[in-house]
């Protein structure tokens, strides 16, 4: 079974989780032998931006030592053999068209999403 993991809601609880649960799930399922790819759309396209830094969270004397590193996490998906698609228009609308992104992403237009979904047995939209 081939599945596409669509991640749309960016930064939902990433500071507390120190990653994105949808990204983490894709990584974990792949490690367990699943045939899973990922599509970033909506606000989640920001995960691909190289130059992001979520460090500095502090509550009283408590300091976060391992802030989320979402671009690195996305890159770890492609390094494990997963295809990571990203919706081009969602990048453009957010002013991210010219911003350095991590490598190995596969751009897809909104018009191309339906065709993409047809390549998968199941689609999981998070």
């Amino acid at each position: 079974m081939k599945a596409l993991n669509i991640i749309e809601t960016g930064y939902r609880a990433t500071l507390e989780e120190q990653d994105d649960p949808g990204v983490w799930l894709a990584y974990t399922l792949k490690a367990a032998g699943a045939d899973v790819d990922v599509l970033l759309r909506g606000n989640a396209v920001n995960y691909a931006v190289k130059d992001q830094d979520a460090g500095g969270l502090q509550y009283g004397a408590w300091r976060q030592t391992q802030p989320p590193r979402l671009a690195e996490n996305i890159a770890s998906l492609t390094s494990k053999g997963m295809a990571v698609f990203i919706v081009s228009e969602d990048l453009q609308e957010r002013g991210l068209g010219g911003v350095p992104l991590i490598e190995s992403l596969t751009p897809v237009t909104r018009n191309g999403i339906a065709r993409l979904l047809g390549n998968y047995d199941q689609v999981w939209h998070w």
Partner: protein
């Protein structure tokens, strides 16, 4: 402190679900740094913020063990905020809604958290300079 304030925060969101709990605790942190007296009424899922049974875990995607991952445990944030308030001459009165605790089995809470009811919230709000409700949104 002449301009010392008393603020009440009513929270609803559980930890690890969205950024509202992070933001709420950041606002409380600012108030704690100013030495304010702070009331927190933890309602519904937010009673899990101070849940004492939270445990850290490793993270295979990050390639880190439990110690290296140093995962965020909101119970530690709550405790840190209480200490921060005390250090600056303020205090935090953190009340977990008792019925919310019971229906979730979230009975164990970190030190300094007490069990209460909406009557406590009413008393908190009535004796505060202002109240901020951070409500769960769909």
């Amino acid at each position: 402190m002449a301009d010392k304030k008393t603020l009440t925060f009513a929270l609803m969101d559980p930890p690890y679900e969205n950024a509202r709990s992070t933001t709420a605790l950041r606002l409380i942190n600012i108030a704690a740094k100013r030495g304010y007296d702070i009331n927190v009424f933890a309602y519904e899922g937010s009673v899990f913020l101070a849940f004492a049974m939270q445990k850290p875990h490793p993270n295979a995607m990050h390639g880190r063990n439990v110690e290296e991952e140093n995962h965020v445990l909101t119970k530690e944030l709550v405790s840190s905020l209480m200490q921060e308030a005390m250090r600056n001459g303020g205090k935090i009165d953190w009340v977990n809604c008792g019925l919310c605790v019971d229906e979730r089995g979230a009975v164990e809470a970190v030190e300094g958290v007490r069990r209460g009811s909406p009557a406590d919230f009413l008393k908190m709000a009535a004796t505060s300079d202002n109240t901020l409700v951070i409500v769960t949104r769909g």
